[in-house]
């Protein structure tokens, strides 16, 4: 599976999910992205954490929109008008708009997720054009430091606890935060020293994992961007309709062309195998 092709697919998915507020298309993008993740994710990856985070994000979007937007024809509850910001009628239109926003966020996140959950770490960095190779390696290395910082935070916390550290007030947390930051800085410097000693920056680089293009990669790289371009064009031309529930809720308009563009995003799950 070519990382560049997957990146093209992700960008296409994000484009479609953000190009229209129509929840039908957003749900279709979400389902296609979920299908890709389930079919192609790395064996060591669990989707549970991300799933929970997305549900929470969607619920927050619904709650905030419902409590803050007081327009719409169908009120189901009224909060006292004396309450700042929140006071006023709560409407079905606001709930649905919040749900559509939440689905849009989830679809965009799921479209980007395969870059980290399907590809091996650093695959995307390896796939950068040669002109960006040094920058890419530096970014990859910086990303590689993050788990190390998390491990050292645990190690430092354990070591301090064994010396009797029992934080009861906020001002005692620097006993953990200061060594974590200092250790991370020192680790970064040592790593930079090690990279320099292994010739980093000496000249043009090559990549151990050379990026190879297969037919399936080409298919993904052509079909997904074409679908995104067509969707945006049809949206601008008015063929694909948007959806806005205010002031009175209505069913979202659906066009066959719009649905086809969204379903074209399922192509990775059809042509790639893990």
């Amino acid at each position: 599976m070519n990382p560049r092709a997957l990146a093209a697919w992700s960008i296409s998915g994000i484009t479609i999910s953000l190009a229209s507020g129509n929840p039908v298309y957003r749900v279709l993008v979400l389902l296609c992205a979920l299908n890709v993740l389930v079919a192609l994710r790395r064996p060591d990856v669990s989707l549970r954490g991300m799933g929970i985070a997305l549900v929470v994000a969607a619920l927050i979007a619904i709650t905030v929109t419902t409590l803050a937007s007081h327009t719409g024809a169908h009120a189901f509850l009224a909060l006292p008008s004396g309450i700042p910001v929140l006071g006023g009628p709560l409407t079905i239109e606001a709930v649905l708009f919040g749900a559509s926003t939440g689905v849009g966020i989830a679809a965009a996140v799921l479209a980007a997720a395969p870059l980290s959950l399907v590809l091996m770490p650093n695959s995307l960095v390896d796939a950068l054009p040669s002109g960006l190779a040094r920058t890419g390696a530096a970014i990859g290395t910086a990303l590689n430091l993050i788990p190390g910082i998390a491990r050292s935070a645990t190690e430092i916390r354990d070591a301090q606890r064994m010396r009797g550290w029992r934080p009861r007030r906020v001002r005692e947390w620097p006993d953990l935060a200061v060594p974590v930051v200092l250790t991370a800085l020192e680790g970064s410097i040592t790593l930079a020293e090690a990279m320099e000693a292994r010739g980093y920056g000496a000249g043009p680089r090559t990549h151990y994992a050379d990026v190879v293009w297969g037919r399936a990669d080409v298919a993904v790289c052509v079909v997904a961007p074409a679908a995104a371009i067509a969707f945006v064009a049809l949206r601008v031309a008015g063929v694909i309709g948007d959806w806005y529930p205010f002031p009175d809720v209505s069913l979202p308009p659906v066009s066959v062309a719009g649905v086809a563009c969204c379903l074209a995003l399922a192509i990775p799950a059809l042509v790639w195998r893990r």
């Binding site: 091996m120 770490p121 650093n122 390696a137 990859g140 290395t141 590689n144 788990p147 190390g148 491990r151 050292s152 190690e155 430092i156 354990d158 070591a159 301090q160 606890r161 064994m162 010396r163 009797g164 006993d175 200061v178 060594p179 200092l182 250790t183 020192e186 680790g187 040592t190 790593l191 930079a192 020293e193 090690a194 990279m195 320099e196 000693a197 292994r198 010739g199 980093y200 920056g201 000496a202 000249g203 043009p204 680089r205 090559t206 990549h207 151990y208 994992a209 050379d210």
Partner: protein, 454 residues
């Protein structure tokens, strides 16, 4: 001996930025093909000297430099480290901080990518380096899942893949088990025999004593002696054990314990106990579970099954990385923080003196050398008369004098009734201190034959 040395330093002086005196002052030094062992106490300037050979001193660290240093015909002062990297390989002291990529084979290939080796040729080079360092079976593994010893061999593989003509190693055996250390020594011996200049700073000289080598002794940044390599003396420190033959109280006990950092146990069905005034040494291969066992005894890791009992009182824990402990402005403040007394007095002050830290007490622990940091961390955890002391690789980066000081401090604590557990690869330390030795590996912990007291 060739007419042209592989490396030479003439009237070379170097001072770190903000330094008040020269870190290096080398009148004349010549390095030829073969093995050169650099000796010296903690903070003597060994690591600074090694860094001259690939130009990290002065290019990476800055500071002021004078004189001349030449490596394989390159003037070090005018040639960037990244250019010298094609000729000089460098293995650093701390293997945890040398990995660039998250997987083993990608990390080994990093240097080859930097010298723009064509991708089809890299696979063979990577495989060769992994085979040579005995970690071919780890090829697809995540670096984060490796033990300290495995990481040390990975760091060596990453450098060997580049086939350097000069190989510089700073404490390459410090985290390796017996077998791993032997295999690395064999690699260094083969490289030295085949014409590579191998320069190594290492305290485990008993391992390197198997090889023909020239020895340089560094003190205060100067070369004070050059001689043939001599084995370090192995001596047991005779001291009356409170535990041996006595019915001292049980300080900790593991009953049917299974343990591991995840839900999959690394150790299973462990039944062990330690007594007050007893020193138990845990030995075994890298990745065998010594650290897991230590953390379980200390209470940092809850057992997956079974029961752990500990006598009431403080448990002192020294992690493998001393930097996890050191964050106060001075060594003295670090020790004072443990005993909640400023300045440290009584036992804590004695410990600082015993570990040879008195002259460093006002220094920032992070400005010290690796061996000095290790001693500062030991002082910080052992202060305050703990009931149980759990030490993970306490002699890492220590010279003989520092190890002797540690032994004296540990023996005094044993005499005071502290139950001490030490995980180590250091045979000399085990011989000097252990009342009982437990072999940890393959999920089990087995008692070895007791050490005879002199």
């Amino acid at each position: 001996m060739n007419a042209m040395p592989v490396a030479s330093l003439t009237g070379f002086r170097y001072r770190y930025p903000f330094g008040t005196e020269d870190a290096l002052d080398v009148a004349d030094l010549r390095i030829d093909e073969g093995l050169t062992v650099v000796r010296g106490g903690s903070g003597s300037g060994k690591s600074s000297l090694l860094r001259v050979f690939n130009g990290l001193v002065p290019h990476f660290h800055g500071g002021t430099v004078g004189g001349r240093a030449v490596v394989r015909g390159h003037d070090v002062i005018t040639t960037a480290t990244r250019v010298l990297a094609g000729e000089v390989g460098f293995v650093f002291q701390d293997p945890e901080l040398q990995s660039v990529y998250p997987t083993v084979e990608r990390d080994v290939a990093f240097g080859l990518e930097n010298i723009a080796m064509p991708p089809p040729a890299m696979g063979a080079r990577v495989g060769e380096a992994l085979e040579r360092t005995g970690i071919a079976h780890l090829r697809g593994r995540a670096v984060a899942s490796l033990s300290g010893g495995e990481r040390q061999r990975l760091a060596l593989a990453g450098v060997l893949a580049m086939r350097p003509r000069v190989l510089v190693l700073d404490e390459p055996l410090s985290q390796l088990d017996e077998e791993g250390a032997r295999s690395v020594v064999a690699i260094l011996g083969a490289l030295a025999t085949n014409g590579t200049a191998v320069v190594v700073a290492e305290h485990r000289l008993d391992q390197l004593g198997l090889l023909d080598a020239r020895t340089l002794t560094v003190k205060g940044g100067r070369i004070v002696d050059a001689a043939a390599l001599q084995l370090s003396r192995v001596a047991r420190m005779a001291s009356p054990s409170v535990a041996r033959g006595a019915q001292s109280t049980i300080a900790w006990r593991l009953s049917g314990v299974s343990s591991g950092p995840t839900r999959t146990p690394i150790l299973e069905g462990i039944d062990l106990e330690g007594r007050a005034g007893e020193i138990v040494a845990l030995v075994g291969p890298n990745g065998g579970g010594k650290t897991t066992l230590l953390r379980t005894i200390a209470g940092l890791l809850a057992p997956l099954s079974g029961q752990v009992l500990r006598e009431p009182g403080r448990v002192a824990f020294l992690p493998q990385n001393p930097m996890a402990l050191l964050h106060r402005a001075t060594v003295s403040a670090e020790v004072a923080w443990t005993v909640r007394g400023d300045p440290p007095s009584g036992d804590a002050a004695m410990l600082i003196a015993e570990l040879g830290l008195t002259h460093l007490a006002a220094r920032d622990p992070r400005d010290l050398s690796t061996g000095e940091r290790q001693r500062a961390a030991i002082a910080a955890v052992l202060a305050g008369e703990p009931t149980i002391a759990v030490l993970d690789e306490p002699t890492r980066g220590m010279d003989d004098a520092a190890r002797d000081a540690l032994c004296r401090a540990v023996l005094r604590m044993r005499a005071a009734g502290t139950s001490i557990v030490i995980a180590t690869h250091d045979k000399n330390l085990v011989a000097a201190l252990a009342d009982r030795t437990i072999a940890v590996g393959a999920g089990a912990a087995l008692a070895l034959a007791p050490v005879a007291v002199a």
